[in-house]
Symmetry: C2
Subunit: 158 residues, 2 copies
């Protein structure tokens, strides 16, 4: 009985701090706090990393209407805390990007389809930003962002 109570306590505490987090994020971006937005953010926060749209949909199946899920994702994109990209297998993948300095890239596994974050060395990131400065000097483009995606095999499939 005591174990069950401890479990329940932890569960409640965990969830309430989670909700707080989601609510704070929404409030910080001047977006009204609604159940669907909180539910979606909770899943994205718990997941911590890229997640396919399919997975997100099935996780939230009975909590958020399909049309609302699309709307919420667009809301999050609009306030710039959600990245969306397409995997080599043409799956839509989304990922929370809360802090600007949390710069990273993605690895797609061609075998199992998983997507993971990878952080490249500071040396290389410096070399990349140097290359972009060179583009600014020598070409007509003005580069504001970039994405670098690596495609290969993950540890399980290697």
């Amino acid at each position: 009985m005591r174990i069950i109570l401890i479990y329940l306590f932890r569960l409640i505490h965990y969830n309430s701090s989670m909700v707080k987090n989601s609510e704070k994020i929404l409030a910080d971006h001047n977006v009204s706090i609604t159940n669907p937005r909180v539910f979606v953010l909770e899943v994205l926060l718990e997941n911590k990393g890229p997640i396919t749209l399919d997975e997100l949909q099935s996780t939230l199946k009975n909590k958020v209407a399909k049309s609302t899920l699309y709307r919420v994702l667009n809301d999050l994109k609009k306030i710039n805390i959600l990245d969306e990209f397409t995997s080599p297998e043409n799956q839509t993948v989304v990922e929370l990007s809360l802090s600007e300095n949390d710069h990273h890239h993605h690895v797609f596994c061609t075998n199992c389809g998983e997507v993971e974050d990878i952080t490249l060395s500071e040396v290389f990131e410096k070399q990349l930003s140097d290359e972009i400065s060179n583009i600014h000097k020598t070409s007509k483009y003005l580069i504001k962002e970039h994405t670098l995606e690596l495609i290969g095999l993950c540890s399980s499939c290697k």
Copy 2:
């Protein structure tokens, strides 16, 4: 009159050499030579660079059925001479990739939506492949390919 004849001669010559090209590409990859495949390849060859699916569709509107266009594009992907990617505005973009050594990246203009090819410096490409070797040494991933995409403003929109 002579000018018209010269023009016609050039047009016919140009087109016939074009067809030859497309046919050779298909033959080289053990794919049967059919009208839809030749038409699609012609447009991709003439265009020389990334092209949106919409543009491709409207160019071939009365020559190739919609379903066949999708099939042909899948055929070309299967024989590894076509790359497909999604622009930041969620437009599907395809591009012929005939030679392996023609390594380049893309610039997306956030204003007009255009996509162009860009070749990065050899120095940087070397730095990038070094970084990937480091990943092989220090992480569990095996990287086989990568894509680097730059997002910003093109010359006209800058």
